[in-house]
């Protein structure tokens, strides 16, 4: 039995039809809506690679059932900004070259964007604490912190 879930995604109405309403939102975004900014990293809310905003909050889409997204406003990395109109964090990540493989970058940027919205003038220590549950294996941490600080300075 299929179920249709309607939500706002990156400013547009979107619907997905699923066999299983417990399917995590991540798969709807990646496979049904073609939004591959969020990545599967662990499926356990441990690494942050799948982070999106749901009604303005940073959420791990790998564990949120798609049914729970019904009627919600979803923002993904693709909707945060574009090359023509980059979000300050995206511009800062480029300026600081804060990416190696970039698999974690989605989570770093989306988590930081939600954090900066609530804490617009953070200290570096606050930034590090805000990202404590975001894993990076390449070792871009100092550049990510520098990028978030740069973005916070506007």
């Amino acid at each position: 039995m299929t179920e249709t879930v309607a939500m706002m995604v990156n400013g547009r109405a979107a619907t997905v039809t699923v066999d299983d309403p417990q399917m995590p939102l991540l798969y709807a975004l990646r496979n049904d809506l073609g939004l591959t900014g969020p990545h599967y990293g662990c499926g356990l809310s441990q690494c942050g690679a799948c982070t999106v905003h749901v009604d303005g909050n940073a959420v791990r889409s790998c564990q949120m059932p798609v049914a729970d997204a019904a009627g919600k406003t979803i923002l993904t990395l693709e909707g945060l900004g574009t090359a023509e109109r980059p979000h300050p964090l995206q511009a800062a990540f480029i300026a600081e070259q804060a990416v190696q493989c970039g698999y974690c970058a989605n989570g770093m940027i989306m988590e930081s964007a939600a954090f900066l919205a609530k804490t617009p003038r953070p200290t570096e220590a606050q930034v590090r604490d805000a990202l404590v549950n975001n894993i990076c294996r390449c070792g871009t941490h100092p550049r990510v912190v520098a990028a978030v600080m740069r973005a916070s300075r506007g």
Partner: protein, 732 residues
């Protein structure tokens, strides 16, 4: 329109992306996939120029998140005098790129880039000869600007000269390259070409690659690593819509479904009767297990003088054993691949660091002529050695063959941590003799490490499915750097190559060089302490006189860290928080990149918590192509290795890996990352050496030396956990 085409359209539509690089071409038709030159002695293997003057670089080394793609573009742009925006790069496609060996060993720029530079220099010389003829002007009078050659008042473009036609030239390794003073692109920091797409969510990782009609597969791995599937109950997943097929061959079990979620559910829910197996050693007794493992081969890597006699007769003798835990690659993105059979031929898209070798392995596993197999590289999550990507490609190939449609496989987190090949356990015994002045008169090292070198790590699907494979172990060239770069009067370093190791081994960033350097440099610090000598001065004392670059990195890092000359440990060891500093040095493989480091640590005497607060590094890899790219690699080496040094350790019971997620296999977090101060030494007139690994080699020893300086207690077992620290403090 296929996925690659739409990707290119997207890039073009995006506008801001200056350089469109393409990571793979789909075969145009059955006959097309070997019509391009790929022999590594042909210019055409590396380079083409189309009718619009766009340059395509074909390279066997791949960008696994290191930024080396940008470096290759800089090299080509420099030697050819074309703008970087006019260059695209095709990487690791067996039908299109030369086989330059796997992307490992910090050789992408050192070997791959230098080969590309020679091909570009050869092409440039040919183009100038052609232009001189066309323009009626001598070669020496010609100028090249943005791919246009001018002379005698006229100009002609590369496109006019060769556009659309393949070069038919052998690479001349001696073709003149640009001298340092003429370079405008190489040697300067250039922003990486991939980063904009990665921060806007437009980058296409292999994980994002889709083919028309593609299905989703998941392997179902045995709960015990050596068990086999005795029975598979297909009815157990009948209620899941979209399941296409269950594949079962020996211990290889997989499911294929129309959607990714259906495949995931099916893999979780499928009932399989597995045989019992408990063949792993007891983790608590792993080092006894290593010592009891039969030795297949003894390799002496350095033998000078009579160290045994010298140690016997020495005024003072020092001995210690160092061990280094089993590590997972623990890739950020679980391994992923897409496989397609069409007209009896197989194509795979994967993040393999060794597509040319993968092609041979898939051919062997499937009983196919390798001409019928094409392996295409697409970037995945950061890769620091042979992880699971090749295995995912083998899974996808088996499943795609069974269902006759393209299949995408992505491992789940527990597959990645559980089934990626592992960095093997590494054990080193050391003995030294000191004379009355504290000088080392004899040094002996014995490493107990698995046999094998680089090579093809067997594919898990072949192993589980009982399909053809080489059946050899290949942990990487882990004997390197057991020999030391110091002028000890007598020394013998011996590698006892073990016949087996508990987990399928492979190389993880700085394989062997890291573990051996850790043991040597920490033990050297023990000798310095026994001699009452300052650790920097003690190293400089034995630095060979004919190696000024080694001396320079050590002296530079000492200045950088404001090193205070005194012996370790520090005298004032009062209070709860103890602070210390440690120095370390490596000459990578004794022939290339020089690195020296100073770590500063704080140790909480009560909790045993270790915090690395600052890390200083001086780095000489010869010529740098993209200095910020080198810096980024050095930072990554330090942070990744701090994670391995302080936290990472595979855990297992007698049947399987038990550290199967980020909770049980912990890695470094943001608050744990130290301040880093890095000094890069640029030598534009020298050859370029690797930077992707050498700075990792010095991290564990720098940390244990700093801990000793702070506390007087010596940690000799990686990872340096708080529990080990507390135990060492009690014993100190």
């Amino acid at each position: 329109m296929n996925a690659i085409t739409s990707r290119r359209s997207l890039l073009q539509a995006g506008g801001a992306m200056l350089v469109a690089f393409q990571i793979g071409l789909r075969p145009r038709d059955a006959a097309a996939w070997t019509d391009k030159a790929v022999a590594a002695d042909e210019v055409a293997a590396f380079l083409s120029i189309d009718a619009q003057g766009a340059v395509t670089v074909f390279i066997g080394k791949v960008d696994m998140g290191t930024g080396v793609r940008t470096g290759f573009m800089q090299i080509a742009a420099e030697e050819l005098d074309v703008p970087m925006a006019r260059i695209r790069v095709v990487e690791g496609d067996t039908a299109l790129t030369p086989d330059q060996g796997p992307t490992y060993g910090s050789l992408s720029i050192q070997n791959g880039g230098v080969a590309l530079r020679a091909a570009c220099a050869t092409a440039r010389r040919e183009l100038l000869t052609m232009a001189a003829d066309r323009l009626g002007a001598p070669v020496g009078s010609l100028q090249v600007t943005e791919g246009a050659v001018s002379g005698g008042g006229r100009s002609v473009t590369y496109a006019d000269l060769v556009g659309g036609r393949a070069f038919t030239l052998k690479v001349d390794a001696n073709a003149p390259i640009k001298p340092p003073e003429a370079r405008r692109i190489v040697g300067r920091t250039v922003p990486r070409v991939d980063i904009p797409d990665k921060v806007f969510g437009r980058f296409q990782y292999v994980h994002d690659f889709r083919l028309p009609g593609m299905l989703h597969g998941r392997p179902v791995r045995p709960p015990a690593m050596g068990s086999t599937a005795e029975a598979v109950d297909e009815a157990s997943i009948r209620d899941i819509p979209g399941v296409v097929r269950v594949i079962h061959q020996g211990a290889f079990v997989g499911v294929v479904a129309e959607t990714e979620w259906a495949a995931i559910r099916a893999a979780q829910q499928l009932r399989v009767r597995w045989s019992d197996w408990a063949g792993l050693p007891d983790q608590a007794r792993i080092w006894a297990h290593v010592r009891a493992t039969p030795v297949a081969q003894v390799q002496v890597t350095l033998d000078r003088g009579n160290p045994a006699g010298a140690i016997q007769g020495a005024a003072r003798r020092v001995a210690a054993t160092y061990d280094f835990a089993i590590h997972s690659h623990a890739s950020m993105g679980p391994s992923c691949a897409v496989a397609e059979f069409r007209d009896g031929r197989l194509t795979t898209w994967s993040a393999s660091q060794a597509t040319h070798n993968l092609r041979k392995q898939l051919g062997m596993m499937l009983g196919m002529n390798i001409e019928q197999v094409r392996c295409i590289y697409m970037e995945g999550a950061g890769c620091y050695g042979r992880n699971g990507h090749e295995d995912a490609a083998a899974d996808a190939a088996l499943l795609a063959r069974a269902v006759g449609r393209p299949v995408r496989v992505q491992w789940m987190r527990q597959d990645e941590h559980g089934w990626d090949p592992k960095g093997p356990p590494h054990l080193v015994d050391l003995r030294a003799g000191l004379d009355a002045q504290g000088n080392i008169v004899g040094w002996e090292a014995d490493a107990f490490i698995p046999k094998g070198a680089g090579g093809n790590v067997d594919l898990t699907a072949a192993e589980l499915g009982g399909l053809p494979r080489e059946n050899q172990i290949h942990p990487g060239n882990i004997i390197h750097n057991l020999a030391l770069p110091y002028a000890f009067p007598s020394i013998k370093t011996t590698c006892h190559r073990l016949d087996t190791t508990p987990f399928r081994p492979s190389w993880i960033r700085t394989p062997g060089r890291m573990q051996n350097t850790y043991a040597n440099e920490a033990f050297l610090d023990e000798c310095a302490a026994a001699a009452g000598a300052d650790p920097v001065e003690y190293r400089l004392r034995v630095m060979p006189a004919d190696d000024p670059r080694g001396r320079e990195v050590l002296e530079r890092v000492a200045r950088l860290a404001n090193w205070q000359t005194r012996p370790s440990p520090q005298r004032d060891r009062t209070g709860d928080i103890l602070r210390g500093r440690g120095v370390t040095y490596v000459k990578y493989e004794l022939v290339r990149t020089y690195v020296a480091a100073v770590a500063e640590v704080e140790v909480n005497r009560r909790t045993g918590d270790i915090r690395v607060t600052r890390f200083f590094c001086a780095h000489d890899c010869g010529q740098m192509i993209n200095p910020d790219g080198v810096k980024s690699q050095v930072e990554g080496n330090i942070i990744h290795t701090l994670s391995r040094t302080l936290k990472e350790e595979l855990t297992y019971d007698r049947s399987t890996v038990t550290s199967r997620d980020w909770g049980s296999y912990q890695v470094i977090t943001f608050p744990e990352v130290p301040e880093m101060v890095i000094e890069l030494i640029d030598r534009p007139a020298e050859r370029p050496w690797g930077a992707g690994e050498p700075a990792a080699a010095i991290v564990p020893s720098a940390v244990t030396n700093a801990i000793f300086d702070a506390t007087g207690a010596r940690l000799r077992s990686v990872p340096f956990t708080a529990a080990k620290m507390r135990a060492a403090l009690q014993g100190a």
